[in-house]
Amino acid sequence: MAKGEAERPTAREGVLYFGRVAAGLSHELSNVLNIINELAGLQRDIAAAAVEGGGDARFARFSDLAQRIKTQVSRGEAINRGLHRFAHSVDNADTSFDLGELLGLLAFLEERPARLARVALDVHPPEHGLALCGDPFSLLLALHACVGAALRACAEDGRVEVHAEAAGGAARIRVTATGSLPAEGADAVSAAAFRAGAAAWGAAVCLDPGTDAQRSLVLSVPAAAAAREAAGTADPSLEVP
């Protein structure tokens, strides 16, 4: 080990630090939003009392404004809740979690990139709860790589769909783009998804060529025990069914 290497923080330590700080700041932000929400409520109360007491009818305008502030606070709170979930997704690298909940977080995180690309994004969790055991953050990273590739492949007004299903104790997650995922670029996508997190799961990423108009990336996540055994040993090379 080179001199100074031992003192250098590991990637895991860095991710944990980032998550802790983001979760803490999200909590503080939530406190601020709650105070703004109550201030808007108080403003609405005062305006309503003034109107009821025969005061200037323009007070009703303050009530409307207070309601609009509350609407924006709700929007901010929903975003902040997603940020908080994202921050906590790094907490435990070996834990049991629900795939549907992780896909809910994925939908939240990818909504903005999809909107900026003018692509519709639909995420469909498994029909029934599906528990996985492992590192949720690694799986999120791998899925982000797949969804990112699908978004880039789509033309404007295209559509990306994410479908997850149980597959004999394991999970299969299919990311379908209605543009055309270039077959020649699939190697790079597979390798990127693998580097991003699929390796930790022993998961395979493959391209389902489908048609020119609709292709899919398929992330096959082994069952928990299998994932542990295969972690770090899977081949990142592209598999084409």
Binding site: H27, S30, N31, N34, I35, G41, H84
Partner: protein, 143 residues
């Protein structure tokens, strides 16, 4: 009838002050505490119909405050108002006797309504217990 008495507990002083003002304008008698220790002290000094308690507080957190409050006053009606209640902490709070859990932001009307219904349920329970005590005395003494 006297107004409903409520104790608001949250480490964010601005938040409790504004919420207290809104509750007072709806006819409630409101006291505030900004820490678990202060809340325990106030709960011992005066009788409250309900306590509205935050979970994430420095020092004595909401769960520990709830545990101690219920040890001191098993009948105290405590509801949780928290920004980030996990399923685990929500279950723990209910097991410790919390009567309800609200996630911030919650409309003040919802909280006031719950405080009033908690008091009404408590009065009905007290009434029932008193009636049972009278019946028992009448049976024992043969009146």
């Amino acid at each position: 009838m006297r107004p409903d008495r409520v104790l608001l507990v949250d480490d964010e002083e601005s938040f409790v002050e504004i919420l207290a003002e809104r509750m007072r304008s709806r006819g409630l008698e409101v006291s505030c505490a900004t820490s678990g220790r202060e809340a325990l002290k106030k709960a011992q000094e005066a009788a409250y119909d309900a306590v509205v308690l935050d979970l994430a507080m420095p020092g004595l957190d909401g769960i520990e405050t709830l545990r101690r409050m219920r040890e001191l006053q098993p009948d105290l009606q405590v509801m949780i108002l928290s920004g980030r209640a996990t399923v685990k902490t929500a279950v723990e709070a209910i097991q410790l006797g919390a009567i309800d859990i609200f996630e911030k932001p919650t409309e003040v009307e919802t909280l006031v309504e719950r405080i009033r219904s908690a008091r009404a349920a408590r009065l009905a329970k007290d009434d029932q217990e008193t009636r049972e005590q009278i019946d028992a005395i009448m049976r024992d003494r043969g009146w």
